[in-house]
Structures are given as C-alpha cells and as structure tokens.
C-alpha cells in the first residue's frame, strides 16, 4: 500500500471547480434568477405589517383545518409569532422564511420533473439514485465551498446549498408516488386512449399528490436544517443569530434564536401537512 502513491482526488476536484467557475455567465444568470426570487419574497414580507402577517398565517391555518378546528395549533401560532416579535427576531424570521421558501420552491420546480422522469425510465432511475444518495449524505458544509466560488457570498449560495441538500426527498417521493399508482388504473387510462401527458396529469400526478407533498414537506424541513450552515457564508436570518451566539459563547442568545427556528419549523410543517390532507372521503 505504501508503494502506491496517494490519489490526488482533492486537486482533481479543485481543477474541476476552477474549470466550472469559468462559466461565469451561466452562474451569474442563476445568481440573478435566484436573487430575484429571494428579493420577491423578501419584498412581500417587508411590506406586510406584522399584524397582517399573523392574521394571514392564523387565518390560513384555521381555513385549512376548518373541519377539525385545531385550536391548539392556532394558539401555538399566535404565541409563537408573538414570541418572535417580542425577541426582536421578526425580520430575521422573514429572512429565514425567504431562504426556506425559495429553496423549497426551487427544489419543487427541479425535483418534481426529475421524479417524474425517474418514474418513467428505469435507466434514469438507476443513474439518479446514487446521485441522490450522494447529495443527501455528503456533509452539507462541503457544498458551501464551491457555492461561494460560483455564487459569491450571501443568500444565493445559501439557497443553492440548501436546494442540493434538500431536494432529494422531493425527487424520491415523486418517483415513489407515481410508481405506486395501481397498475389497473394505468391500464384503465391507457385503454381509453389517454396520451402520456393526459395519463400523467389526469391520473398519475393527482394520485401521487399526497406522497409528493410529503416529499415537499421533507424538503422544507431539510432546508430549515440548513439555515445555520448557510449563515456561515453570509445568509441572513435566524441562523445568523445562532451562528453569532456560537462565536460569542452566548448560550442564552443561541437558544432564544434556536427556539424561533423551532417555532417556524412547526408552523411550516403543520401548514404543509394541512394542505396535503386529502379532501376525498375515505371509505
């Protein structure tokens, strides 16, 4: 083993990253696009007065759960949002929310078509599975390094790193959901002369919806777990507060901001689950 020289893996990857960085125009376009989405969300959140934001969240939750009336959840939301406001984390919270929503949206836009493709093609599925495993298990910190090289400092590389880390569940669950559609329903759709697109939009996607949405929910939670990591490359928000608290050995400040992340996570989780709840009666 000693006779065998060490493989220069790291220098290969450096060269590859340098080579990729040459496509400046391409990465600038992505930066502008993602930056546009971020600014859009942030603009809306900055525009909304705090009371209106709370009314929308609480009212939305009430409406989504109008059958079951989750009073517990609704009071949790009110208390939680008041806490965030009281601690002076409001703008940080909206920044984190922007980061999470942007990366979830991009994960959805890229992930769902990839999942559909995987469901339709065995070869593509075989190629893609190890890539998804790689994306999900590679320590998330590692993505930060090339992200800075390509996209600079700030929210955009944070979003990109979150997308890479958080997208796999959406892809996987879309694939799974479509593959789980019973074979006789596919036969029925085919036997009546559905085209591939009709089958996809009228049968497969509607029936895969709840599985797919479970994937989106997972992606959202994973991108929330990225907020602290993303703050290391300059993404603003609650993660930033936590990161600073670590630097200053400030346990109190760390927990105060951490609690705000937990509150945000629970609200996002419950709302996406409520959206996903089926309107079709079970037998």
């Amino acid at each position: 083993m000693n006779n065998f020289p060490q493989l220069p893996v790291s220098s290969w990857i450096d060269k590859f990253v340098d080579w990729l960085a040459g496509f400046e125009g391409f990465f600038n376009a992505i930066t502008n696009f993602v930056g546009g989405i971020i600014n859009g969300f942030q603009w809306v959140f900055d525009l909304l007065p705090i009371w209106l934001f709370m009314v929308i969240v609480v009212g939305g939750t009430y409406w989504l759960n109008r059958k079951t009336k989750h009073w517990g959840l609704i009071s949790f939301e009110i208390v939680g949002l008041l806490y965030i406001w009281n601690q002076g984390f409001w703008r940080d919270m909206t920044q984190t929310l922007t980061l999470v929503l942007t990366s979830s949206l991009i994960a959805l836009i890229i992930g769902v078509p990839l999942g559909i493709w995987m469901a339709k093609s065995k070869i593509f599925e075989a190629i893609n599975k190890p890539i998804l495993d790689f994306m999900q298990t590679m320590p998330a910190f590692v993505y930060l390094i090339p992200a800075v090289a390509f996209f600079g400092i700030g929210m955009v590389p944070g979003v990109i790193a979150s997308v890479i880390f958080a997208m796999p569940p959406t892809v996987r669950m879309t694939n799974l959901g479509i593959r789980q559609v019973p074979a006789d329903l596919i036969e029925a759709a085919d036997s009546y002369g559905s085209t591939g697109w009709q089958k996809l939009f009228k049968v497969q996607l509607p029936l895969a919806k709840s599985t797919l949405m479970a994937g989106v929910n997972q992606s959202m939670m994973l991108s929330l777990s990225m907020v602290v990591i993303a703050s290391m490359i300059g993404a603003m928000g609650l993660g930033n507060k936590v990161y600073f608290a670590v630097g200053r050995n400030d346990a109190g400040g760390g927990f105060a901001a951490g609690l705000a992340i937990v509150i945000l996570a629970i609200i996002l989780d419950r709302i996406t689950q409520a959206i996903n709840r089926s309107r079709i009666p079970k037998s």
Binding site: D184, E187, Y192, G193, K202, L207
Partner: protein, 399 residues
C-alpha cells in the same frame, strides 16, 4: 353475421430470447419445455377466432390459461409478439401510436375486474373520463355520462367518490364509463368476478338486458363456466395459452372437444354439490314490526308478485303474507300484519343439498325460505331457479 373482430395467429411470449422461443414454439415444443430451455414464458399460442357483430363472446379458462393476456392484446395493452388483430378489417397490430390511441378512444372500451375507478374523481367524472380525454366539452360529456349512469341504474350518485359505493355499484360505474364512450366493442376482463354471488347474478342479468337494446360486440373474460354458459352467445375455452374449443354453449356441453373440456363441464352437473344457498334468490320482504298491509301491497304491486316474505326487526323469518289477505286488512283499516301471516312456510338451511329437497320444492307452490341458525332469512328458492341451476344456466359460487 359479419365478423367485427378477427384474431389471427395471435401469439405472446414474455421474457428473453423471444425469437428462439418462437422457433421452438413452431417446432411444437410445449410451454414448459420452452420455459426450461430458453427462459421465456409463453402467454398465448397461435390463437384464432372471430367475434361477430352484436355477439357476447366469452373467453374462458382457469388462471394462467392466457385469457387476460389475450384480451389485453386486443387493445394492445400488451403488445402481441406475432399475429394480427382486425377490427372491421383494420389491422391494429400495424397501427402507429396516434392511430392506436384513436382506435382505443372510438372503437373499444374496457371494464376491469377490480373496477379500476379513479379514486380522486367523482362518479360522474369517472364515467366521463373517456370523453374527457377525447376533448369533448364539459356539458356534452357530463350529459352523456349521466345517460350512461342512468342506463346502469345509478341515478343520483354523480358527486360521490368511488370509495363511497359498494362493489356492485362501483362495477356499474365501470360499465357506465365504458358505455359513455359509445364504442361498439366492450372488453370485459373478469368484470363480475369480484362481486358476491347475488350481485354477480344481478349484473349478469343487467348486462343481458342492456345488450338487448345496445347490441354491442362484447368480449367477456371469465373463469366461471356457469357465467360463460349463462351470458355467452359463443364460448372459447383456453388452456395453457392455447384455444381448446370454440362453440355455442350447447356445443360445448354436448360435444366437448377433449377430456379437458369434459372435466370442465362435469362441474356443471351440480345437483350433487349444489346447496340451497347456491340457488336462492333475493326475496321481497316486509318488516312486521314496522310495515303494514299497505307497504306489503305496494311491494307486491311493484314486483308483480302475489305474496311477500315477512321478517321482524331482528331480520328473523316470520312467514308470508299474500295479496288477498293484505287487501282484507286494508279494507278493515287494520294496520298490523300479525293476524294474517302464514307461518307454515317450508324452510331449509343454507347448506342443505338441493337433491334432498328437490322433490318437495317441485311439489309445493310456495318457494322455500332459506334461513340460518339464527332464523335470519337469507333468500328463497323458487322452482325455476333450481331447474336453471341444474341445467347450468344459473350462477353459483365456485371460488
């Protein structure tokens, strides 16, 4: 009669090394030999048949006989390995993707064993599915779907979801979905096999009633010989992917082509094994604790019968009431049936072999009541049904 559908030399081989398997098949090797030597599974071997316009053609065989593969090759849900399928003389096996879609949309509709209704769509939207994908506008397709639902006796369920309906009703929707398309050929894949015996019988009757007016060309898959004999104009028996015999029910019964068919139809002589529950039919009942003579009269008029069966609140069998007695009560303004119930009705258990009660049944004018240990009324046996069952024309539970 003209042939609506022609199947010529249709063969399906699943798996690898198909050309080699085809060679072996031509050389006359058996299905098992081919599986052993090249690892390919033969689904259907060189099937030839014609289905006439307006005919119910039953393909019958046990599981693994290739009947499901056969029906799926007709609309190319399964791509044939070789051979031809012709509809009105047009060869489907040579059609391109677009033309095939057109044929599936316009010329044939399929009904599935487990209904295959879309759980996310309402009943009316399920029924209109075929029209929807053809791009028919909403008003037209909904009104056509509504007509189809009415035809199968499912009025007023438009906005329900499939899970809210019973199995029999779900399959009615499946049938309505096929009828809404207005295609001439219906492919029915074990369409009634998932239903309980009484429901199955109802659906068979309904299909025959519909067929009288609609004159569709129906290819019906079944593993139940009684069903095949009952609804088929002609029957094709398959075994191990091969067609064993094709003929009218009469021909199959009187001139079985070989031992296999003989063994099959032996089952039809069921007097030895038929039990009361196999031949009973659904009675018209009134509840003595709830219904009075007017309800009883009404039920008799509705069903054009002269007596009804009486049960109590616990569904226990009490007796019968006939029309003249019910009329008397109405004239005397008595609202309770108790005084006129006739209790000397012959009863029997559901597991009683028909042979043991056959003579009594043919001698008593009143149908036998079939009751279980708890005295619950399960059904009644009428003379006609027994004779029908013995001659193989009545469905019985045989799974």
């Amino acid at each position: 009669m003209t042939a609506k559908l022609q199947v010529q030399h249709l063969t399906k081989i699943f798996g690898r090394r198909i050309p080699k398997a085809q060679e072996l098949l031509k050389a006359g090797k058996s299905k098992a030999d081919i599986l052993k030597s090249v690892g390919a599974t033969v689904g259907v071997t060189d099937a030839n048949f014609e289905v006439n316009d307006g005919e119910i053609f039953v393909i019958m065989g046990l599981s693994g006989s290739g009947k499901s593969t056969m029906i799926r090759m007709i609309n190319r849900l399964i791509e044939p390995t070789s051979g031809h399928v012709l509809i009105d003389g047009q060869d489907l096996t040579s059609l391109g993707k677009k033309q095939l879609l057109e044929v599936r949309r316009k010329k044939m509709s399929m009904v599935f064993q487990n209904f295959a209704l879309f759980p996310n769509r309402t009943i009316i939207d399920n029924t209109a599915y075929g029209l929807e994908i053809q791009g028919v506008d909403r008003d037209t397709r909904l009104s056509k779907a509504h007509d189809a639902l009415e035809l199968v006796g499912l009025d007023g369920y438009d906005d329900q979801y499939p899970t809210q309906l019973s199995g029999g009703m779900q399959q009615r929707v499946g049938l309505a979905r096929a009828l809404a398309n207005d295609s001439q050929i219906l492919l029915m894949d074990e369409a009634f096999s998932a239903l309980d015996p009484l429901n199955r019988k109802d659906m068979q009757n309904e299909l025959l009633d519909l067929q009288e007016n609609l004159h569709k060309t129906i290819v019906f898959i079944s593993h139940d010989l009684n069903e095949a004999l009952r609804i088929g104009d002609r029957i094709m028996i398959m075994r191990d992917g091969q067609v064993v015999q094709t003929g009218t029910p009469e021909e199959i019964l009187t001139q079985p082509a070989n031992e296999y068919v003989e063994r099959f139809i032996e089952d039809v002589d069921r007097t030895k094994v038929l039990t009361a529950s196999n031949v009973m039919i659904r009675p018209n009942i009134v509840n003595i604790d709830k219904d009075g003579p007017r309800i009883a009269m009404r039920r008799m008029l509705e069903n054009e019968i002269s007596s009804v069966y009486v049960v109590n609140n616990k569904r226990e069998f009490v007796g019968t009431v006939d029309a003249s007695h019910a009329m008397d009560l109405i004239k005397q303004k008595i609202t309770k049936l108790d005084s006129v119930v006739q209790k000397n009705v012959p009863t029997t258990g559901p597991d009683t072999p028909i042979t043991t009660i056959m003579e009594q049944i043919s001698q008593t004018p009143i149908p036998y009541a079939v009751v279980d240990d708890q005295k619950h009324l399960l059904g009644i046996i009428i003379r006609g049904a027994v004779l029908g069952a013995i001659s193989g024309n009545e469905v019985s539970e045989d799974e």
